[in-house]
Amino acid sequence: MHASLRRVYWWLIAPAVLLMLVFYIYPLIQVLWISVTDPVPGLGNYSELIDRALIHRIWMTTIRVCVITTAITVVAGYIVAYTMAQVGERQRTWMMFCVLLTFWLSVLIRAFAWVMLLRTQGLINTGLQELGLIDQPLRLVRNEFGVIVGMVHFMLPLAVLPIYSNMTGIQERLVSAARGLGASPWVAFKDVYLPLSKPGLISATILVFVFSLGFFITPALLGGGKVVMISEYIQVSFEETLRWGQATMLASTLLFSVFLSLALVARFVDLKKVFGAR
């Protein structure tokens, strides 16, 4: 009875497994295959990782932008989530609405809105100039700064949601207990609340970092063509120069670096716990 039931379960998930194999694993293998066979068999494409200054630069840009974006997003997301967890039901609903609102705006509209705010004659520059705080307009967009602003804005909900959902599981009583045992508000936060919100913090960090690695629209729009990230270069290699060997090599390395960062994180935390499998 038990064994046959189990077989039924396997059959039930079979379509999903098959779907994964056909539409995900197989193409993935193809990608890896192309990366070592096109244009000639061998690891020539991968040697470009070492040899070519352009690829170094693109990787460095990608990692720098992603790390900075992740750091800012996670800290800002933590503050937003913490506030949401503390305020009343009404304010929380409004905050959640505002956080999700950015999700509903198209990435183009968002990027354009940032351009309008940050450009030389934009609201911020003219405002600062009229206040007499600056003489010359600041370069706030069409550079790495603008890209990071846009990416942080894009990513914020992705950081807020896991952190907030983790925080709702933290018993407020534990913080009270800490206070009652003599901890100042800061110590109670640092020694009790912060460690307990670590799973949310880590999943937000992973989520934001991994997502950031794949970014190219926002960098393309707000970077003024000067902030080229790995995904954009993959697209160029794949669709424009048709150097599929190079494109698949970069895609494979991108995928590999996602796994690598997960593995690094896994050394320090229980990922199953972070992703709620346990």
């Binding site: 534990l174 800490a178 009652g180 045992l181 003599g182 901890a183 020694d191 009790v192």
Partner: protein, 368 residues
């Protein structure tokens, strides 16, 4: 500010002066005056919504009172933040830090007071032994049973020798047997430490078994306070008589008042009550509370001053005792209990029996 030494005389006294807490238009605590003597075990007892937890949280500093003041010895601590009060607190559901080991949980209050773990180790060990948890110091709370967690919570609350120990329904999540065991332990802990304990519960048995003083709360006000025996034997109101233990209530009209006693008529049945006919209404109505265990059950009419007969409508056997429901003509349904091994009647439904009690077995209570 810990006092260094422990001992029966090191406890602190706490006073509440006209304490109140208003939520919107609802007064959760309504002008409570209370003195907690040094080193005593005081219990705040009441049903949910009676304000007992709000009072405790005000003492702890988690709830800011709307009015009145809280004095520790002679210091007004009403506006002190929780961490500046130096009170130990045991929360409902333990509130152990799940990311710390048992030892680290207990170290926590010392750590925030600047004591390194090495320096604290003796105290941690001591506190753990005090609650018989020495062998589980390196476990995490999730690896402990409910009773073990409660012991750790207790150890954590006392390790820094607080001026006062506040306990918020600490035993409510435990099963009955464990609860009974821990009642003994808590009481002996209190005696050994000499710290003033303020204990909140809705469980009257817990209150009776451990407290020096019980404060019965109702709708944010003190209904009655006193030592357990006094409260049980001399409830002032129907509420207290009903909440603390069980009672039969007899409503009668006062008849003849004699020296130290009076007669009253209930359902046509004349009965005698010792004491003065206090709380009597204009109509001459009086309310008498009669504890079930004070009724003697016999098969023949007893010699007791007050006696009625009735039929058993239901009974429960508890091993140590029988609980009977008896239907009487004059007094309606009454409950009566008797030790099982001395039970003088045949416990069977429909059986006609006699219930008898002396005038001083029952008390006059206010009808509120």
């Amino acid at each position: 500010m810990p006092e260094g030494s422990t001992g029966a005389r090191s406890g602190h006294a706490l006073s509440l002066r006209n304490l109140s807490k208003v939520y919107g238009s609802l007064a959760a605590v309504d002008g409570v005056d209370l003195d907690v003597p040094r080193g005593s075990f005081l219990t705040l007892l009441g049903p949910s919504g009676s304000g007992k937890t709000t009072i405790l949280m005000s003492i702890a500093g988690f709830v800011e009172p709307s009015g009145g003041s809280i004095l520790l010895d002679d210091t007004d601590i009403t506006r002190f933040p929780p961490d500046k009060r130096n009170f130990g607190m045991v929360f409902q559901g333990y509130a152990l830090f799940p990311h710390m080991t048992v030892a680290d949980n207990i170290w926590f209050p010392l750590k925030v007071r600047g004591v390194s773990k090495a320096d604290a180790s003796a105290k941690i060990k001591n506190a753990l032994e005090l609650v018989q948890m020495g062998h589980l110091a390196e476990r995490y709370p999730s690896q402990l049973s409910g009773g073990q967690q409660q012991r750790v919570a207790l150890a954590r609350a006392i390790v820094f020798e607080p001026d006062l120990l506040l306990l918020d329904e600490p035993l409510s999540a435990l099963d009955k047997k464990l609860r009974a065991d821990l009642q003994w332990e808590l009481k002996s802990l209190h005696q050994r430490l000499g710290t003033t304990f303020i204990y909140v519960t809705h469980d009257q048995e817990e209150a009776l078994s451990m407290s020096d003083t019980i404060i019965i709360l109702r709708d944010g006000k003190i209904e009655q306070q006193g030592v357990p025996g006094e409260l049980y034997e001399k409830p002032a109101t129907r509420f207290v008589a009903d909440f603390l233990g069980k009672s039969n209530f007899l409503e009668g009209t006062v008849g003849e008042v004699k020296d130290g006693a009076f007669t009253y008529v209930c359902g046509g049945q004349p009965l005698v009550q010792a004491g003065a006919a206090k709380h009597t209404k204009m109509s001459g109505q009086v309310l008498i509370a009669l504890r079930p265990e004070k009724i003697a059950l016999t098969t023949e009419r007893p010699a007791a001053t007050n006696a009625v007969s009735g039929q058993i409508t239901a009974f429960n056997y508890y091993g140590s005792a029988y609980h009977f429901q008896v239907k009487t003509e004059a007094l309606g349904d009454l409950i009566a209990t008797t030790p099982a091994w001395t039970c003088a009647i045949e416990p069977s439904i429909g059986n006609t029996i006699w219930l008898g009690w002396e005038p001083d077995a029952s008390v006059v209570v206010r009808d509120r």
